[in-house]
Symmetry: C2
Subunit: 586 residues, 2 copies
């Protein structure tokens, strides 16, 4: 039930715009209009249109973000839910065989039909309004169930209602049974049935794929994050890999026709073992704040889509040097692809690429890691091998690493080409051909900091027993590219004056330009008399003297990534109970 409310905001607004646009048959549309809240948000309305234009490549991400919105619609919680079970047999409709459905694959002739359990649906008029774009066409004339199993956000009552609004018939029971047998054979109990256990303290932003961040108070208790509390950002189901069978393939420029393959044991016995302590941060960290300015598209991460671990493995630069590849200028390589073994239903793996200079530079310390905090890497974090690219966005720290390819072009997969790029603030889903403005792929991240304690909105009770009440403020700072944190400034007056926080010694001891791990910080603030709240602001400065921007608005982007504006919290101050109120007159 909790997930139902978690997914509501984004989901309803997206689909409500679909309905407003009139793409859904009238009979359905009317009942949904009554049922849905009316959202006064032009951006979201336009988002619905824009998404249908971008095509199939956007679906993965759009769908995962449906589970991302914060709990907002508490006023809806007492509404009566009208349950619809999609795909139930309906006696008043005609029956079609799968062969007949298979023939409906053209909008121009017979229309486009799909199957869901016992139901047959005509989606022809719906395609343009589908928030996931034209990827829906992959199911033309077929069952949509395998797709819904990957993109689990479809398993929601409101989607079910829209689907039933497109219903044209029943599928022949013989075909229903055959399809179900085929489905079970292919997917077992579903692609997400074999996910690992997760720590109950994690705040879940999406269940399928699983995305979760630790509570800030727990995260900042240690410099190295315990594996169980390390934030989890999965794009697809977690694969189940036999470490004894697993070989990493290395191919592309410099590796001849066939490339090579190395077992985990080969890595351990052939190359020098290296250790790197890095903080990995998701590009979407602090997206929730950005969406408060104007709605963005993506999982609603708060301030803890980052964690720190000690990784053990071998330098990628050592491996490449072993095979004679040292200087990118000599061999003409421009990019190093890193491809995982997690795949979507079309067989597309999660993959990314990094600039070849990053891969070859021993001072960048790119690791093929086989241990995380002295344990085999947990499945959620990339078992058995993970690419660790220190100082670089989490998305390039590819898990379940299966292939490394040296190339003269960037990785062509969705998450390198269409996502994890920096859109300009003037581009949103209403912009014609917005994907043209996607900007460069995100690699090194900018300087960042956030307050983790107290949380915004959390009341701070005054002791009232001391001369001056003190509030201990804690947080982290970090910068990409190994840039050390030089200073963390805290302000109580929106940046007019600043106090300098104390930085963790483990952090300040890091080498110049190779400060891959974060800088936890703390500051005791004297709470002024007679105030009922404190607004606390933090900003950090890195070793290139880059600073965080004052405000979010000028860095707003439609994907909600790269939010590194000053972090601000609002803390109500609770006065102590007084024995005698007339003390004030003394």
């Amino acid at each position: 039930m909790k997930m139902r409310s978690l997914v509501r905001t984004n989901f309803l607004s997206r689909w409500n715009s679909v309905i407003s646009k009139g793409h859904v048959p009238v009979a359905l549309s009317t009942s949904l209009q009554d049922r849905f809240r009316v959202w006064d948000n032009k951006a979201l309305f336009l988002a619905g249109l824009g998404l249908s234009a971008i095509g199939m490549t956007m679906l993965d991400d759009n769908m995962t973000q449906l589970e991302s919105a914060p709990i907002e619609n508490k006023e809806e919680s007492n509404e009566v839910e009208i349950k619809i079970t999609p795909g139930e047999f309906k006696a008043d409709l005609p029956t079609y065989t799968l062969a007949q459905v298979n023939a409906h694959i053209s909008a121009k002739t017979d229309g486009i039909w799909v199957v869901y359990k016992n139901g047959v649906y005509d989606i022809t008029k719906f395609i343009a309004a589908h928030p996931g774009g034209t990827k829906i066409l992959l199911a033309s004339g077929k069952s949509i169930e395998p797709f819904w199993q990957i993109y689990a956000a479809h398993n929601h009552g409101d989607v079910h209602k829209i689907l039933e609004g497109l219903r044209v018939g029943n599928l022949d029971p013989v075909d229903v049974k055959a399809l179900e047998e085929e489905r079970v054979k292919k997917f077992g109990a579903g692609p997400y049935a074999n996910e690992p256990m997760r720590h109950p303290a994690m705040k879940i932003n999406s269940n399928q794929p699983f995305n979760a961040e630790p509570p800030p108070e727990l995260l900042m208790e240690t410099f190295i994050t315990p594996n169980d509390l390390f934030f989890i950002r999965n794009h697809l189901p977690v694969p189940d890999i036999d470490i004894n069978q697993h070989k990493i393939e290395i191919s592309g420029i410099g590796f001849g026709q066939d490339g090579i393959s190395l077992s985990v044991e080969d890595l351990k016995t052939t190359f020098k073992q290296r250790e790197v302590i890095t903080t990995i941060q998701c590009a979407g960290n602090r997206r929730a704040e950005m969406s408060q300015i104007k709605q963005v598209n993506g999982l609603s991460w708060d301030t803890t889509a980052l964690s720190t671990a000690k990784w053990t493995g071998v330098y990628l630069s050592d491996i490449l040097a072993f095979y004679g590849i040292v200087d990118e200028d000599e061999v003409g390589i421009k990019h190093c692809h890193l491809e995982g073994l997690d795949r979507d239903i079309t067989g597309q793996a999660y993959g990314a690429s990094i600039p070849i200079a990053t891969a070859l530079d021993k001072r960048k310390e790119v690791l093929i890691a086989y241990a995380m905090n002295d344990e085999p890497i947990p499945r959620d974090h990339g078992y058995p091998l993970r690419a660790i690219v220190p100082g670089t966005v989490g998305a390039r720290n590819v898990k379940f690493l299966g292939r490394i390819i040296l190339s003269d072009e960037e990785y062509q997969g969705f998450w390198q080409q269409k996502d994890y790029r920096g859109f300009p603030p003037n581009v949103d889903y209403s912009t014609q051909d917005f994907h043209r403005f996607a900007g460069a792929s995100i690699q090194e991240l900018p300087v960042q900091s956030a307050i983790t304690e107290p949380r915004t909105g959390q009341t701070w009770p005054l002791e009232g027993s001391e001369e001056v009440d003190v509030m201990t403020v804690k947080g982290y700072a970090w910068s990409g590219g190994g840039r050390n944190i030089l200073r963390v400034d805290v302000s109580l007056d929106n940046g007019q004056t600043w106090q300098e926080a104390t930085l963790a010694p483990e952090a300040t001891a890091q080498r110049y330009g190779r400060a891959w791990a974060w800088t936890p910080w703390t500051l005791d603030i004297d709470i002024p008399d007679d105030i009922d709240h404190l607004d606390v602001v933090v900003k950090a400065i890195d070793s290139s003297y880059n600073v965080q921007p004052d405000t979010i608005n000028p860095i707003w982007n439609m994907r909600g990534v790269l939010n590194n504006a000053w972090h601000r919290i609002h803390v109500p101050i609770q006065k102590p109970l007084r024995e005698k109120d007339d003390d004030e007159d003394e």
Copy 2:
């Protein structure tokens, strides 16, 4: 005469605060009070106090900045100047021999005396108020003339007046003659007599040492700046070096007892020739804007304390590798000192250091350069050898390079230890022991951009002949550490909405992470109807997605360095003359 007004603002305000504080003898103080403007600037008042605390090491910088303030006090231009010729013989005063003056070197016993030409002065009570700090004590019992020749800002009527207020006698004419003969023998016509010629278009921020920036319109005409227009930042007189005699010394860790020395010819014949196109930027670029927020200490650079050149030379990493130094972790080196052959009167050379990883990393392309834009490096830019440290603050691109020392500590000279560091915004000259907060030495610079055309305040005349009047806005963007410029955003509404500028192709063709040269940009703005001005704002984004901060206030620092806030210009719009005013009613 122009220089007189250039130096006025900072100078008077500094010394006025000296007088307000009562450190100057009363007889002088009264006349000066009448003469000087009263400055309502607490920061400057406190600056005077703070400077006396920091001690001798600050003098170099304080003095060079006296010539730095913008022309502001136009209302003063009609005032009658009372000329004082310092050091003239005064018949009503007693005569002292140099031996007697030499004996006055203790504030506790006989007081501290100094000599200037024919004059003898008791500076005992003035020391605490001296804006240059206790470095004045170097002249105890001696002539101050050699110091004034280096720190030419003393050659100013108001300083002369203060000096004469401290007058206690005449120097024995025999000693006057002897001192003058010694001075000429040592300095010839003065240390600045042998400066090179400079281009008349340069805007001079200080004459001795010479500091000047090119007009923005000329600077941005070419991607590579002509040598004559390259901004000049000298800390000391320009040395005159015989290239045939010159040998660079390399010593320190890894170079044994004696080190090595290499002639320019040795460099050319032993190592591979390399070319690097870099933009060099002064840490104080755009200081003038920062001082509008609150007075800072330093030369008043506008937006063009940066330029771009092609440098030819050899990689420092190639030289060090030749002598077996490749991996900093193996040899225990932490810093690479770079020392020039320009020296102050105490014999202290200009010097700096860079992290050893920067020096050893071939991808950082640190160069020992012998040519600038295919010519021998001009004297103002470091003849015959200059360290080029791409992506790093100008101050570490040491000119007239004489020595390289590998060390486990930073260079200990003034400009590495006391200057070119980032003070926090909450620290100014009123802060007790402010030098404790000096921050890390500036190395890589943060992302930067500025508008060079039109200039702020420059009226833009509307053509009135076209459908829409267009204003072409030009400028540059650049980031330290080789980080490419991804985007330049321009706003006409203080950052609410943005337009994307067009970037120069020479700039965008630079390699990832090795974009040492700037990114010129241009944008045609449609001028809205019926406005009388435009406020234009620019910000840039680099390949780590670092952005510029919105405002200057939160990055303000007492040295006025590292100003990379959004650059803003105000452009009055001049309407075209209309033939018929009643056209508007049609």
